[in-house]
């Protein structure tokens, strides 16, 4: 509304890469990973990511990934130190040593606490690392959220969901999304998320009621609603995102993926990955004025521990 016609421009990301190229990268990755009995895994992951990012184009320019295999490797070591060793020690106390039962119970509780805090730490760490190693037109992204607020969101989300028999869940999703997005930056400009849990309540209740009746298929429509809602309430400056994905399209994507993978015994995995990325971009647009002149570099370089953990659960290149 208002402003010259150029300001209501619709922009879309696109993926230029091909499944065949990714397969070539993957097979060499596998060869070296096997040959080094797994050590190469971190460098393999970096190679794949670098390819996927640099084949993503927006407004005529490609993204770039600046991470290194060494950083991922060090991150994994740190994760082992901070989580692995305490968990192991607590386990030994609980099961193998001959100590007072009270101490064993304490060790058990501590283990659960350490285990539960793993997820928000992994999420925040991974996001912070990945965004800080991503750039477009030379400007780096960044994530400035901290782990403690997310941990609180997770804990309160779990407790409240239990108490409300699950009805709190949409509110939890929105709170999580708000945290993840509104602390994400491109240069010095922040992303913004303005959703409300109440808006997701209706699709969620519908999903809970209909999914058992439709043998689980309705889940695709719920996933599409959620994606449309999340993107639709995400803004960057004066522009806002829009997703037009539908449940039917999602179902079609997954069904064909499953067929392809089954017929090729999983070997066509790189083509499936490219299909998924193509699909994600096809339904995603950015509408409105994009004042890139204002944006300045404000790169942040955090530690890479969280990435090592989330490496085990692949959360993917995904701003949502």
């Amino acid at each position: 509304m208002g402003g010259p016609p150029g300001e209501s421009a619709v922009r879309q990301p696109s993926f230029r890469g091909e499944g065949g190229t990714l397969f070539g990268i993957h097979i060499v990755n596998v060869l070296f990973t096997l040959g080094t009995l797994g050590v190469y895994y971190f460098w393999a992951k970096t190679r794949t990511r670098r390819f996927l990012f640099s084949q993503t184009e927006f407004e005529g320019d490609r993204f770039a990934y600046h991470g290194t295999g060494q950083e991922l490797f060090m991150g994994m070591l740190k994760a082992l130190l901070v989580f692995g060793v305490p968990l192991l020690v607590l386990r030994v106390i609980r099961e193998d040593l001959d100590v007072h039962t009270g101490i064993k119970i304490m060790a058990g509780i501590l283990s659960s606490v350490v285990g539960v805090s793993f997820v928000p730490v992994a999420i925040v760490g991974a996001r912070r690392y990945r965004l800080s190693r991503t750039s477009w037109r030379g400007i780096r992204f960044s994530f400035r959220g901290r782990m403690w607020p997310l941990l609180k969101i997770f804990i309160s989300g779990t407790l409240l969901s239990l108490v409300t028999f699950g009805f709190y869940y949409p509110y939890f999703l929105v709170r999580r999304q708000t945290f993840l997005l509104s602390q994400s930056y491109f240069g010095n400009e922040r992303f913004d998320f303005s959703g409300n849990g109440r808006d997701l309540m209706e699709p969620f209740v519908l999903a809970v009621l209909l999914t058992p009746f439709t043998l689980g298929f309705y889940w695709f429509w719920w996933a599409a609603s959620k994606r449309r809602y999340f993107w639709g309430h995400t803004r960057f400056g004066a522009a806002s995102f829009r997703s037009t994905v539908t449940g039917g399209a999602l179902l079609g994507l997954y069904a064909l993926n499953a067929l392809i993978l089954l017929c090729t015994l999983g070997l066509a995995w790189p083509w499936v990955k490219v299909r998924n990325i193509d699909f994600a971009y096809r339904y995603l647009t950015l509408v409105g004025p994009l004042d890139l002149e204002r944006i300045q570099q404000q790169a942040q370089f955090p530690s890479t521990m969280g990435e090592g953990l989330a490496g085990f659960f692949d959360t993917g290149f995904d701003l949502a």
């Binding site: 070539g24 096997l34 490609r62 030379g138 089954l262 015994l265």
Partner: protein, 347 residues
């Protein structure tokens, strides 16, 4: 004059980018523009759309050509991919067949006996509860004699060997990690001589000594990692297929373990001067029972077929002729083997 690129932005002054300081970060793949960077963490970036730029670079600055991708060599990529695929297949097979068993055996040997005993304790308590163990003193003494003779040939073992007979009419026996062997009454009553029981015990004791259960745990984890490395992160229906592959793979390892238990068990009998004919006769009887087992089932089985086992053991025994010393010569075995059910379980 240093060799490099002269970069002149519109309305700006010319600067020199020495080749030695320039990195190419994009432009190796079809459709990608050439992206050159110079500097540290926040580099200066130059994007060139025309791929022929790379060719020119190679012509003009051949000493630096290693820093830049050569588009003329893209044809090699297909051949390299095929080679890599062949390499992957070979390497995976080698790892599955040799590396994993080798590593698993070594790692299993390092596991402390106390950990194995801990693991075995819960299994034994569940499957052989004290209330169901046969406590007839004559039987217990006889079993102890047999076990004593068998283990005398392996004096330095860190294990405390225990054998329990369980009053359950099942035809089975197993070894728990840590040194405990459980024999069910159903199997005991089918043995015709103490030498036959000794054969079964020797086999099971070798499972303990060779640490097969611990090895299996390591193998299971390693094969999971191997499959993960090959297929990338896979979820959904394909994951089940992979799990089936993993289980089949594990069956091969368990057949290897059984063969090892057979062979080493026979050697244990020979070292204890127990007549191996008993062990062989026992398997012959087993083989007669399962006559209709086909070769296809062999691959689905955790044990090699009884016929194969008998053949292997006969061959091994023939190589080491022996003057055996009879086990329990004063006892009537056909009476002794039935004392479990008759006397009833422990009080």
């Amino acid at each position: 004059m240093r060799q490099g690129l002269e970069v002149t932005p519109a309305g700006g002054r010319t600067r020199l980018w020495p080749y030695a300081e320039v990195r190419q970060t994009q432009g190796s793949y079809v459709g990608e523009e050439v992206r050159l960077e110079r500097g540290g963490r926040m580099p200066e970036i130059l994007v060139v759309e025309d791929l022929r730029f790379l060719q020119s670079l190679h012509e003009l600055a051949p000493e630096f050509s290693r820093r830049f991708h050569n588009p003329a060599r893209r044809g090699r990529r297909l051949r390299l991919t095929i080679l890599a695929a062949a390499g992957v297949i070979t390497l995976s097979a080698a790892i599955y067949l040799w590396v994993i068993p080798f590593l698993a055996a070594r790692v299993a040997m390092q596991v402390p006996v106390a950990w194995e005993e801990q693991l075995g304790k819960s299994i034994v308590t569940y499957l052989a509860p004290p209330a169901k163990r046969c406590a007839d003193p004559k039987l217990v003494a006889a079993i102890d004699t047999i076990v004593g003779r068998l283990t005398a040939s392996a004096p330095g073992s860190p294990y405390t060997f225990r054998v329990y007979i369980v009053d359950v009419p099942v035809f089975n026996a197993f070894a728990a990690p840590g040194g405990t062997v459980v024999v069910f009454r159903g199997l005991l009553e089918r043995t015709d001589s103490p030498e036959q029981l000794a054969g079964v015990l020797a086999h099971e004791l070798q499972h303990v000594v060779q640490r097969h259960s611990t090895r299996a745990i390591v193998q299971h984890t390693s094969s999971g990692l191997l499959i993960a490395a090959l297929t990338g992160d896979v979820t959904g229906p394909l994951a089940y297929g992979l799990e089936a592959a993993r289980v089949l793979g594990q069956l091969r390892y368990s057949r290897d373990a059984e063969e090892e238990a057979d062979t080493e068990g026979l050697k244990m009998l020979l070292a204890a001067r127990v007549d191996p004919a008993g062990m062989i006769a026992f398997f012959k009887a087993l083989d007669k029972k399962s006559d209709k087992e086909s070769d296809a089932l062999k691959y689905l089985s955790t044990h090699p077929s009884d016929r194969d086992r008998m053949a292997a053991l006969t061959a091994l025994a023939a190589k080491h002729p022996l003057q055996p010393v009879k086990l329990l010569p004063e006892e009537d075995w056909s009476e002794l083997r039935n004392t479990c059910g008759a006397a009833g379980p422990a009080r």
